[in-house]
Amino acid sequence: MGILSCCFPQLRAVDVIEVTDSVIDTAALQRSLKNPAAGGYCAFEGWVRNENEGHVVERLEYEAYEPLVIVEGEKVLAEARALFPFLDARCVHRVGMLELGECAVWIGVASAHRDEAFKACRFIIDKIKVRLPIWKKEHYANGDSGWVNCERCAAHGIAE
């Protein structure tokens, strides 16, 4: 166990979701999912991109209501674990003002085989986008800004 506890320092029993106003240290997060029984690891990152629906985007501002992000996020992780049994999953969402290319959300899933890792990771980001109390405001090149409507609203239309 000496060697194992060295190489795999943070074997954890629970899946974790966090909110941060600092740069997300994706390398450290990934290391925390190392597990000698894990054969597959899938990660997703949401990056601030320079365009949305025809607008030139310069920055994104994220706001979250952290207490319920944690509560709802833990529910999402538990649902993912029930559907796609994995070893460990973690999620971090950033808040505040982000520049182009910065990471707004990181999700990592380690599992014995790759299928669960891919499916759980996808499930988690899909749910995070529509269930967690997080909002983003786009700041455009022309000086305007606007709150982004949720994906589900956009997909289902205003009449829903």
Partner: protein, 80 residues
């Protein structure tokens, strides 16, 4: 009439100009609170696009409100 603390988030807070206020309302459910405060949060969204919590627990729109409750009004979410 009930005394309810209402907290606004994101675009709702920007429109209301305050993040929180205590109001005296004639409201049975959180949906009533949403409707009564439309001129505050300024939403033209159907409430089905929004979410609501009571005292830090996610609630349904027909959940009853009680005197002293803290109601969180969430505009359409867009994480990630």
């Amino acid at each position: 009439m009930k005394t309810i603390t209402v907290r606004y988030f994101a675009m709702f807070r920007e429109h209301a100009g305050v993040s929180e206020e205590t109001l005296t309302l004639n409201a049975a459910t959180v949906k009533d609170v949403f409707e009564c405060t439309r001129d505050r949060h300024g939403s033209t969204e159907p409430n089905g696009h929004c979410k609501v919590a009571i005292n830090d627990h996610m609630a349904d729109w027909d959940t009853a409100v009680s005197d002293g409750d803290i109601i969180l009004l969430f505009p359409p979410v867009a994480g990630g």
